[in-house]
């Protein structure tokens, strides 16, 4: 059986990629040297492949970097040597080239930020509002505040703690497992799995009390907008049930749901406009630095 021989020419796909990369060079340079560059690439790749597959891979990577850096240099040089290689290019083309670099880098910054934003998993917000009522006698120290705002701060604090409690989170986990959105939850119904789900729900839930009012917003973040709103609504319902059981509250003194959460299909995270703005800002700063560098580079007299 003949021994395995490494290929004598680069794979067709690699050659196509090389030819495509040559398009990064200025047309004049490409017309003059593309054939020779390909010949050299073929010969070098074949030599590297005879050494080992790793050598060929490293050589391919080095060539890609070499083509990228030399193509950008050729663009700068072709601009500089338009008229006379010994003369720096006139200020206007120099400015246009420098500005172009700045714009390119700024756009690159925005694109990178956009790429990051698209790579970050999306999270949607489910938010509902509940009205808490004073069902217990406030302590004397709260009297002055209640007289001013109509809200008992101690009571509010207690209610917020109950809303964020593990007991309530467990109830919500049980409720969701039996509800229509159970397929969106992690599988498993053992006490440990339910406890893990409850802890996860607790972590993704936040509460916000509207200033000087007994109104609290329940906010839940989840990769599914449907589940985010379902969790928020379940939390409100379970809280109402718990308080009704606990305090034997009359309908008039029960907390009430002011608004239920609806699936909101615009993600709250990642914050696309913010990320792109940061990318644009960083790109602008780097672009301005590059603009100065390009201006200086094009002003240089080199052979």
């Amino acid at each position: 059986m003949p021994a395995h021989q490494p290929p004598s020419t680069p794979p067709a796909l690699l050659l196509r990629a090389f030819r495509f990369a040559l398009r990064a060079f200025p047309p004049v340079h490409r017309r003059r040297f593309a054939t020779e560059m390909e010949q050299v690439f073929r010969a070098q790749w074949t030599y590297a492949r005879r050494q080992s597959g790793t050598s060929a891979a490293l050589f391919t990577l080095r060539t890609a970097i070499d083509l990228l850096s030399s193509a950008s240099r050729e663009h700068f040089d072709s601009l500089r040597t338009l008229m006379n290689p010994r003369k720096p290019i006139p200020p206007m083309p120099r400015f246009v080239c420098s500005l172009g670099t700045a714009v390119l880098i700024t756009a690159l910054g925005a694109m990178i930020a956009l790429g990051i934003a698209l790579a970050i998993p999306k999270a949607y917000l489910g938010e509902c509002r509940i009205l808490l009522r004073n069902t217990e006698v406030p302590p004397p120290s709260a009297a002055a505040i209640i007289a001013t705002t109509g809200v008992d701060p101690f009571r509010m604090q207690t209610e917020l703690e109950i809303l964020g409690s593990m007991e309530l989170a467990r109830r919500v986990a049980d409720d969701l497992k039996q509800g229509p959105h159970s397929h969106l939850l992690p599988p498993g119904t053992t006490p440990e799995q339910t406890a893990a789900l409850a802890a996860d729900l607790q972590r993704r839930t936040s509460f916000r009390q509207y200033r000087n009012t007994p109104v609290v917003a329940i906010r839940v973040q989840d990769p599914s907008p449907v589940l985010a709103s379902a969790i928020a609504n379940s939390l409100a319902e379970q809280y109402l049930a718990l308080q009704t059981e606990r305090l034997h509250a009359t309908p008039a003194s029960r907390p009430a749901i002011l608004s239920t959460a609806q699936p909101f299909h615009r993600p709250v995270s990642p914050n696309l406009p913010l990320l792109v703005a940061v990318g644009l800002l960083a790109g602008t700063v780097l672009g301005l630095i590059a603009m100065v560098a390009v201006w200086l580079h094009l002003s240089r007299r080199t052979p």
């Binding site: 340079h29 560059m37 390909e38 070098q44 970097i65 030399s70 193509a71 040597t81 052979p303």
Partner: protein, 125 residues
């Protein structure tokens, strides 16, 4: 009447970039095509300097524009060679520039020896 298109002073091209000097050195004693230039650079530097196709032909382009090298029409063996290959050789002016750059390096080496950075040159019998 002044001569048309007078040749610039070789010193005005110095210092050459390492890539330019390597290519001029490779062509100093023979005509070569691109791949042979690369091989010559690899050999003369014990494999430490490896030029990619982009760097090589960018350097060749600049050397052609500066009239330091030129294309050669001759083929060492047309039967064995790819006729699309281009051969390059030093121009007389390129030779002067390469010699000036070599002299510049020799001066630097002499200074380095004097400062004890390099071992003294063995005396010839």
């Amino acid at each position: 009447m002044p001569p048309a298109n007078p040749q610039p002073d070789p010193e005005s091209f110095l210092p050459l970039t390492p890539a330019m000097f390597h290519v001029l050195l490779a062509l100093a004693d023979a005509e070569h095509h691109g791949y042979a230039i690369m091989q010559a650079v690899l050999e003369s530097t014990d494999g430490r300097v490896s030029m990619g196709p982009g760097t090589l032909y960018g350097t060749i382009k600049r050397l052609l524009e500066a009239n330091l090298i030129e294309e050669s029409d001759s083929r060492p063996d047309p039967q064995l060679d790819d006729e699309r290959r281009r051969y390059y050789r030093l121009t007389a002016f390129g030779h002067r520039v390469a010699a000036a750059e070599a002299q510049r390096h020799a001066t630097l080496v002499r200074v380095a020896r004097a400062k004890g950075l390099l071992a003294p040159q063995p005396s010839t019998p």
